[in-house]
């Protein structure tokens, strides 16, 4: 029924468009120059005023009816549901809806059948109500708009205002989603900090909510705040990020210098896209590359020179992550190096400087702020990277600076904390939100610093 309604609205949209257009044309006997707005704008005006109110009503309806319907069921069956807890009542309503509209039901009984029957009638009524409302709004909108169309009517202004509202709504969706995610992170983290003091979380050096059967808050018993120290994760993250940058920063920068100043046009046209394909490889592919190829290689290499290398080492994960962010560094650095005006290169060459002198002494210093911000963005990318470290870095929360040992990172622990079917209210699962919040704060700070640096750099040349 609702599907038909949507199709009816689409049909009305098209019909109203052509109706509005032809009315505008006939009102001036085909002389378009007498119209304030173009015929198409009159048509769009009529189409929008006919359909948009009905569409808004439909959206509001689809958002609020499920709640209203289940409330009706709940109050009608208040006696039967009296003794049940919140999850059981929700399960009951879920089952009733499944019986009424088809779906998987665990078991059924007379009460549920009765509830399902009520559900059906209530839902059918609410559909009729929304169809009626939409019809009234659409017809009213159509005739109101039809009456307004006249040569002097400023349809264009109305259409443009509606379009602007639509654009604002789209950007609001993105912004509100971000705000919502951040707020949920903050509130869940606050719940976590009620169980584990924030200083023990931030500065504790012992992390083992997985291995401990007691104290993690999943079973009965008190939460042990001493197993929620995030320092080992943080150190592991920094270690892997550091190794990754050790690989990516020089390689990416040199590649960028080659691409921007040395490569001929055909080479650049081929090499740059290929380098950027590296960025398009799914990180899980890098992950098994790290776990199956690079890690055994480092272990074999270590053994041959008498070093013990763990099969899941920070070194392997860091090196592969470094390879992953090379295109990130090179592409951003290439952009900033290209942004250094050619006149500076000419000026240096005109003084008898060689190409490498020009690059070292003029181009790179001029591009330095941009390069620094590219590096910071790459760091925040490396800190947030998950898949490679899940597969290659291991799970043991060792507090070590030795790259040959297994370490774990913030992102790996978030994954392992949330894998499995626990309820989302134990200290163990809430810890994931706290870790996420810390991660978010770090990358946010890095991005802000990077963007500020870029802005300062831009001011210099424009």
């Amino acid at each position: 029924m609702v599907t038909y309604l949507v199709f009816a609205l689409i049909a009305l949209f098209l019909a109203a468009y052509f109706a509005g257009r032809s009315r505008a044309l006939t009102s001036v006997d085909g002389e378009i120059s007498k119209l304030h707005s173009l015929p198409g704008q009159h048509g769009m005006f009529l189409a929008l005023v006919s359909v948009v109110p009905a569409l808004l009503a439909l959206i509001v309806w689809s958002l609020i009816t499920p709640g209203i319907e289940s409330n009706i069921i709940r109050s009608s069956f208040a006696n039967e549901l009296g003794g049940l807890g919140v999850p059981q009542v929700e399960a009951f309503i879920r089952d009733a809806r499944a019986i009424a509209f088809g779906g998987v039901v665990g078991f059924t009984d007379a009460t549920k059948e009765a509830a399902a029957a009520l559900y059906k009638t209530v839902h059918a009524r609410s559909v009729w109500i929304i169809v009626a409302i939409c019809a009234v709004l659409a017809i009213a909108g159509f005739f109101w708009g039809y009456g307004r169309i006249a040569p002097a009517y400023r349809a264009r202004h109305v259409v443009e205002r509606i379009v602007r509202v639509f654009l604002i709504a789209c950007s609001a969706v993105a912004i509100l989603t971000t705000i919502g995610i951040v707020l949920s992170l903050i509130f869940e983290s606050l719940r976590f900090f009620q169980q584990v003091p924030i200083h023990k979380f931030l500065f504790g050096t012992h992390w083992s909510p997985q291995s401990a059967f007691t104290g993690a808050g999943t079973q009965q018993g008190a939460v042990d705040p001493n197993i929620f120290g995030m320092v080992p994760l943080f150190v592991g993250t920094l270690l892997i990020t550091f190794i990754a940058m050790l690989v990516a920063a020089p390689t990416g920068l040199m590649a960028a210098i080659y691409l921007s100043d040395y490569a001929s046009k055909p080479v650049r046209a081929v090499a740059k896209p290929i380098l950027e394909i590296l960025a398009g490889i799914p990180t899980v592919v890098y992950g098994f590359f790290a776990a199956l190829t690079v890690a055994p290689f480092f272990r074999g290499l270590g053994e041959s020179i008498g070093l013990g290398v763990a099969s899941e080492s920070a070194l392997a994960a860091g090196v592969v992550m470094g390879i992953m962010i090379i295109p990130f560094v090179s592409s951003l650095s290439d952009d900033v190096i290209n942004a250094v005006p050619q006149s500076l290169r000419d000026g240096s060459a005109g003084l008898g400087a060689t190409k490498s002198e020009t690059i070292r002494k003029v181009v790179l210093p001029a591009a330095l702020p941009g390069i620094v911000s590219a590096m910071l963005l790459a760091v925040s990318r490396a800190i947030g990277e998950t898949m490679i470290v899940v597969m290659a870095a291991g799970l043991a929360a060792n507090l070590t600076a030795n790259p040959l040992e297994a370490v774990t990172t913030v992102t790996v622990q978030i994954v392992t904390l949330l894998v499995g079917d626990q309820e989302f209210d134990s200290a163990k699962t809430l810890a994931a939100f706290a870790l996420g919040l810390v991660l978010f704060c770090i990358t946010l700070a890095l991005n802000i610093v990077a963007l500020r640096v870029v802005q300062k750099y831009r001011e210099q040349y424009d």
Partner: protein, 271 residues
């Protein structure tokens, strides 16, 4: 025994007529950008301690010719130069010539002031440093000071040598670029429309400076301003569509040119 080369003869003739000797000499110079030919067999001499002005409408090849004189066209991958250009009778397109050394001898000042995003001091000391011209800090200081003085900028910047060169006004920036070029003690300075981005007051200062620099350097200047060519140059060369139309003493070019195109251009009838 008395066999003289062409250059010797010219040298003789030059001294007899009190003309300065020839510093740079272009012989059938042609330039191609890919398939397109931008310059057709240009023969042009640049004389010692004189200002030679290159004039002509946009796209006539005068900047292209200027950029041949210190091989700046090398930086454009599709550019190809034929013919012969000599500096003190040495072919600058010879395989044995180090282009870096050539550019140290033939410096260049560009259309738009392009100071490096470094301090004023570092801008001027950049060239001497990369060529190892200074024996120590004191020597470098001396080169920077004398270059800025020659560029008539010293009094304006002596108290803020370590502030960024990009913070100067347009005219000051252009004089800084001239000081930067002087600092490597070139023999020839090429100027590609050095005043086109400057206001009239800054232009007057730079023109005055060019006239003073003539004493120690040989200067070739590309300009779109007829008045500027008349004011600062001793010899003028007129280019049109890639050909050298006419070349001669500036006085004669502006009062009694041989070619009608020159006459039309300098009186503003085309271009």
């Amino acid at each position: 025994m008395n066999i003289m080369t062409e250059a010797d003869v010219e040298q003789k003739l030059a001294t007899r007529t009190n003309e300065p000797s020839i510093k740079m000499k272009g012989d059938k110079v042609s330039v191609y950008y890919g398939e397109k030919r931008a310059l057709f067999d240009v023969d042009l001499d640049v004389r010692q301690n004189q200002v030679t002005a290159l004039i002509g409408p946009s796209g006539c090849g005068k900047s292209t010719f200027l950029r041949c004189l210190n091989r700046m066209n090398d930086t454009i991958s599709i550019a190809r130069v034929t013919g012969k250009i000599t500096l003190d009778d040495e072919d600058i397109y010879d395989k044995n010539i180090d282009v870096v050394e050539l550019r140290a001898r033939v410096g260049m000042v560009f259309q738009k002031p392009n100071p490096f995003p470094k301090s004023i001091y570092e801008n001027v000391s950049y060239g001497p440093r990369i060529h190892g011209l200074a024996k120590g800090k004191a020597d470098l200081d001396r080169i920077v000071e004398s270059s800025l003085q020659k560029a008539a900028l010293w009094n304006e910047v002596k108290d803020r040598l370590h502030e960024p060169g990009t913070g100067l006004s347009g005219g000051q920036q252009q004089r800084l670029c001239i000081a930067r070029a002087i600092a490597v003690s070139p023999e020839v300075i090429l100027m590609d429309e050095p005043c086109s981005a400057l206001d009239p007051i800054a232009t007057a200062k730079v023109e005055e400076l060019i006239d003073e620099l003539r004493e120690n350097y040989t200067i070739v200047i590309v300009t779109h301003s007829m008045q500027q060519a008349a004011r600062v140059s001793q010899r003028t060369a007129m280019f049109h569509l890639g050909y050298l139309v006419e070349e001669g003493a500036t006085d004669k070019m502006f009062t009694n040119p041989d070619d009608k195109r020159t006459q039309d251009y300098i009186t503003g009838r085309f271009g």
